[in-house]
Point group: C2
DNA sequence: AGGTAATAGTTGTATTTGTAACTAACAAGG
DNA sequence: CCTTGTTAGTTACAAATACAACTATTACCT
């Protein structure tokens, strides 16, 4: 048991996931970085706002499983670049609503279409069934608790 | 095309991979961190030495697709903790050979067996066939160039 | 041999991230 | 109302990372 020769750490799922995630992120990272000077967390916040429309930082945190400090800083930078605007909620003044500006929406739309093309390239070679199963499995792993 | 309503960024493969990788790494990260004060890069270097035996930093870099500065610093810390020893190659004095110490091997062996248990928990719910297909797909994604 | 390029590995500095502590605003119970 | 607790979001400081520049050594080429 202790020295199970049948377990090869090279097949360790967290390791494989990290390798694949890094490789897959690499190219697209350059897209939003070079085109818009954005960091990964900024792209994530941007695309959540693009999909869902108006959200608060906490909403984004819950959806994206991102820590609030990451979001806080991403929002700050996106606001500086005028990709989003912040509106304080007058009913509950702790809360801030975030909305993409016109410019932010254009950026989102451009990145989304680039992302779609890139995604297509990534699953090239997989059947549609395999690709869907892969996504489903990844979602299950991400949702896992405990 | 530009605003393809059929492409949902939430299904974007790099995003799903990152979410899954982060979730999957989280727990195991605490194991090597709490038990041995190790960082992820150190664990990676350690396990490569555990699998392959004596290697150089460049060898590890090639296998693990890690940048040489990461390896350099990981090796430094592993050497400080006496988990590995460095031996200069007398034929080519630029090169340094890395070997796990007895202690390093014990740590590796402990972490490996914990990793195996954790891996089993992660693929719980998947058939053996599905789990193998998943690993294969991840390896292919990691190997992808261009 | 002598000069140029390549390779192994380290170090310096600027960014980024993680953790914890913080401010501000609201909620709830007495 | 007033204390205690909770939630939204920010900030400060330590730790980690990326990238480029560096040293030392070997290889290549003429």
């Amino acid at each position: 048991m202790r020295d199970d020769p049948d377990f090869d750490v090279r097949m360790f799922l967290p390791y494989l996931l990290n390798q694949a995630a890094e490789a897959a992120s690499l190219e697209f990272q350059n897209v939003y970085k070079d085109r818009y000077g954005m960091l990964r967390n900024e792209w994530r916040v941007l695309f959540h706002l693009g999909i869902y429309g108006r959200m608060t930082a906490s909403d984004i945190g819950a959806r994206a499983q991102m820590h609030k400090t990451k979001i806080s800083r991403a929002v700050q930078r996106l606001a500086e670049r005028r990709y989003l605007v912040r509106t304080r909620d007058e009913a509950d003044r702790r809360v801030e609503h975030l909305d993409l500006t016109k410019m932010g929406q254009k950026v989102y739309s451009d990145l989304r279409s680039t992302a779609r093309d890139y995604d297509t390239a990534l699953v090239e070679g997989l059947s549609e069934e395999d690709a869907n199963r892969l996504r489903t499995q990844l979602i299950a792993l991400a949702a896992r608790r405990g």
